[in-house]
């Protein structure tokens, strides 16, 4: 029998990026907010001490900051005719556990989606005709526009201290920035990171083939920075241990380095760790949430009542909780009915390994130290003759040269082990880089999330089941992008290149990106979305859903910038509209 606790105004499920943003904004508005986190508390001091955090085995190879799958995992299959089996250890993606979430161990690559991304269906139909979109591709407009979100992208970027060069300020194209980006009101808060040698070589090669490269926007601070919450950050020292590690230098933007120092002292904020939320509880009408149920570290069950429930868990975990709680009709791929779980998407990536004839010291780097071109992203180019939808940026990132897992491949024909492999490592490590493509993945009828019929977590709940594969559209687009990447790579005048096209089915290993999206899609139509344009559940108006869960499809950029912007946008809607008049903010 669950012990019932005293009610709070707002309960947040999870305590990562979106929970930290919502907590700060809503406590500033005078609400009493409680965050419930399944993992443990972590902070720069003492957990990320610079003396021991650069431990590749512990953190990258053994996932020291990641989820513990023994407690809960998901099951996976490529297609409906297969049986889904558990993802028994991490591979393709690395979600986190603990306060700060994946916001601690990300690289910091921070982008805005394009204006046309937000209206992808109507835009594509207008430009290319309705028949250009395959029948089983379920892409949809977001229900918000880039212009709606622009002030909130700005807010997230100034929260983080993003280091970058703006490309379009109030309609004026800026030298040295991304000429394709949507217009922004003002530039970034900090200038771009220093350029590593390899990014300089990429920039020159891109220019030589007629493409406009620009420094990637980074949540690695190029200078000391005090953000609007009064939180002080340091300056990145290019240590090359960003992704999968935590920063001990206060120079990677995370909840710990940008929000928690201002949030934790507040009287109207509290949090619990090592507590697993297992249900959102609904009243007898099913239209109102009464709070959540969670299990603590001792295994005791508690009922936490709340006026407002906000799901801030990582991506697919929000969809899982919605399914377990019966919020929204579960999506059925056979009938194409239902909403919860539909439109799961991901990222399609590929690379060209480049073997130069000079040392580029790959071990000096930062998570978002990169140089990119955006000519082949979104609808920045004419898709008519190409026959696919979507695109991505192409970039050379110098994030580090960590010896176990960042070996940057080997030239064609190198043996996979033995003396020949050893010789190749010796000759190529200091001289190898990769040009990477980072492509969009559209939504499809048969890419979705539901509850597994066989496998359970430690609480006896059904695991989430993921059904997903790449489709012809994505392979076609990816080949196009990879060929462009090879063009730039060859213009770097290397000894050799090795082109790695994306081929074969999507696999649950090896690592690709932690850019899982969808399952709680946002939109204007309750028949095809779980949440409305304010991230409010259509079915249960005192439940909001955050994160990339709400992406209706995934575009050609890393998701976190848009996740942060949407969190601020939703926080604003709650503060200025919902609290004054609780109930549906959009009429169905």
């Amino acid at each position: 029998m669950a012990t019932k606790l005293k009610s709070v105004d707002v309960v947040l499920v999870g305590f990562g990026w979106t929970a930290s943003i919502l907590a700060k904004e809503l406590t500033d508005a005078g609400l009493q907010v409680l965050a419930i986190e399944r993992g443990k508390f972590r902070d720069t001091v003492p957990d990320f001490a610079t003396t021991h955090i650069q431990d590749e085995l512990r953190y990258a190879a053994r996932g020291g900051l990641f989820e513990d799958l023994a407690r809960e995992t998901l099951t996976f299959r490529n297609s409906l005719d297969q049986e889904a089996l558990p993802m028994r250890h991490l591979g393709s993606f690395n979600p986190a556990s603990g306060v700060g979430g994946a916001g601690i161990h990300w690289n910091g690559q921070t982008w805005r989606f394009l204006p046309t991304d937000f209206t992808i269906r109507s835009h594509t139909e207008a430009r290319y005709g309705k028949n250009f979109i395959p029948v089983d591709m379920t892409i949809q407009d977001w229900g918000v526009t880039y212009d709606d979100l622009e002030p909130y992208y700005d807010k997230f970027e100034y929260l983080c201290g993003i280091s970058g060069q703006a490309g379009n300020v109030q309609g004026k194209i800026q030298t040295g920035g991304n000429p394709f980006e949507g217009p922004r009101a003002r530039g970034y808060p900090l200038p771009p990171l220093k350029r590593s040698y390899a990014t300089v070589l990429f920039d020159k090669a891109a220019k030589d083939v007629g493409l406009k490269s620009f420094p990637c926007a980074a949540a690695n601070t190029s200078q000391p920075y005090k953000n609007p919450y009064g939180v002080q950050m340091g300056q990145c020292t290019y240590c090359g241990f960003c992704e999968w590690f935590a920063c001990g230098n206060y120079s990677k933007s995370s909840p710990q380095t940008t929000i928690l120092p201002a949030l934790l002292p507040k009287d109207n904020f509290s949090y619990r760790t090592l507590c697993d939320v297992t249900r959102v509880n609904l009243d007898s009408t099913g239209k109102r949430a009464t709070g959540v149920t969670y299990v603590d570290v001792q295994g005791r069950e508690f009922e936490q009542p709340a006026e407002l429930v906000i799901l801030c868990a990582f991506a697919q975990h929000n969809a899982h909780l919605l399914l377990l709680s019966g919020i929204g009709e579960p999506y059925n791929p056979k009938t194409n009915e239902g909403v919860t779980g539909r439109n799961y998407a991901y990222q399609i990536t590929s690379s060209v390994d480049v073997f130069l004839d000079e040392d580029v010291n790959p071990f000096m780097g930062a998570g978002a130290l990169g140089q990119a071109i955006d000519e082949f992203n979104g609808d920045n180019f004419d898709h008519g003759p190409l026959g696919f939808i979507g695109g991505g940026y192409i970039a050379l990132w110098t994030t580090g040269g960590r010896p176990i897992l960042q070996q940057h491949g080997a030239p064609e024909g190198t043996p996979k082990w033995g003396g020949g492999w050893k010789k190749s490592m010796h000759e190529n490590y200091l001289k190898s880089v990769s040009v990477a493509t980072h492509g969009s993945v559209m939504s499809y009828r048969d890419s979705y999330l539901d509850l597994d019929p066989t496998y359970r977590d430690v609480y006896g709940n059904p695991l989430l089941r993921l059904t997903f594969d790449f489709h012809d559209n994505e392979y076609k687009m990816s080949k196009f992008e990879t060929d462009k990447a090879a063009l730039i790579a060859k213009a770097m005048k290397p000894r050799s290149v090795k082109v790695n096209y994306r081929e074969g089915h999507y696999s649950i290993l090896p690592y690709e990106t932690t850019h899982n999206t969808g399952g709680a899609a946002m939109g204007s139509d309750p028949k095809t979305s779980v949440v409305n344009r304010y991230l409010q559940s259509w079915d249960v108006s005192n439940v909001f859903v955050m994160g990339s869960s709400v992406f209706p499809q995934n575009h050609g950029y890393n998701p976190t910038g848009t996740v942060g912007a949407l969190a601020y946008w939703a926080a604003d809607a709650i503060k200025t509209k919902y609290l004054k008049n609780p109930g549906p903010l959009v009429q169905a």
């Binding site: 957990d47 001490a49 003396t51 021991h52 650069q54 431990d55 590749e56 085995l57 190879a61 053994r62 996932g63 799958l69 023994a70 809960e72 995992t73 996976f76 490529n78 297969q82 049986e83 089996l85 558990p86 993802m87 028994r88 250890h89 591979g91 220093k194 350029r195 300089v200 300056q235 020292t237 290019y238 240590c239 001990g248 040392d359 010291n361 071990f363 000096m364 780097g365 040269g401 960590r402 010896p403 176990i404 996979k416 082990w417 033995g418 003396g419 492999w421 050893k422 010789k423 490592m425 010796h426 490590y429 200091l430 066989t454 496998y455 359970r456 089915h505 999507y506 649950i508 290993l509």
Partner: protein, 204 residues
């Protein structure tokens, strides 16, 4: 929270025949040659032993609930075996195979050429082992060998920074603010580990 380096070289998991197998196998995977020490000299056997005796070997953060079914390659590891069990069963199976195929010799007793043939057969899944799929065994052996050669010496491998010196990785250093823009200039600071400059030769 600080790391605790391995204090002594006492094996906790492997038996003597298993040590002989691993020594021989990793010597072929990353051999000693004119470029420097190989995996065996770098202490990779001891590294793997420590890993298998610990939480990795016990699959503590893996989902190990049944039922266990054979999946597609895209569905990844689906064995009921923990890594520690996979090594035990795999090594036994390989030595049995070698003794049947190579005139009663275990893997460790074969010449280098035959050892390479066996490893290639395992890698391709062409050898049938009793109790464990050959491909899965080879994959984890190579993964752990690579890790042991290149992980920080506190874990028992990469002795004297053998792996890092082979490739030119200077170790976990925190500050390249000045050096990152010195294009084309080699980085010449001595190699360091998490426990400092003499990390791998320090005792206790």
């Amino acid at each position: 929270m600080a790391p605790r380096p391995v204090a002594s070289r006492t094996f906790s998991y492997f038996t003597a025949p298993e040590i002989a197998f691993i020594d021989a196998a990793v010597s072929r995977l990353i051999p000693a040659d004119e470029l420097g020490p190989g995996a065996k000299e770098a202490g990779v056997t001891f590294f793997i032993d420590r890993q298998l005796a610990g939480s990795f070997g016990r699959a503590e953060t893996w989902y190990m609930q049944g039922p266990w079914k054979e999946g597609t390659p895209e569905q990844g590891y689906q064995l009921k075996l923990t890594p520690a069990q996979l090594y035990r069963v795999g090594i036994q199976g390989i030595d049995d195979y070698c003794q049947r195929t190579f005139d009663k010799k275990t893997f460790a007793e074969l010449g280098a050429g035959d050892q390479d043939k066996v490893l290639q057969g395992l890698e391709k899944g062409e050898i049938e082992l009793a109790g464990a799929p050959a491909k899965e065994f080879f994959a984890i052996l190579w993964q752990n060998t690579n890790e042991g050669f290149f992980a920080d010496p506190i874990y028992g491998g990469n002795h004297d920074f053998a792996g890092w010196k082979l490739i030119g990785f200077p170790g976990p250093r925190y500050n390249y603010v000045n050096e990152i823009e010195q294009y084309g200039k080699p980085y010449t600071q001595p190699t360091v580990g998490l426990m400092g400059r003499n990390a791998s030769t320090r005792r206790g």
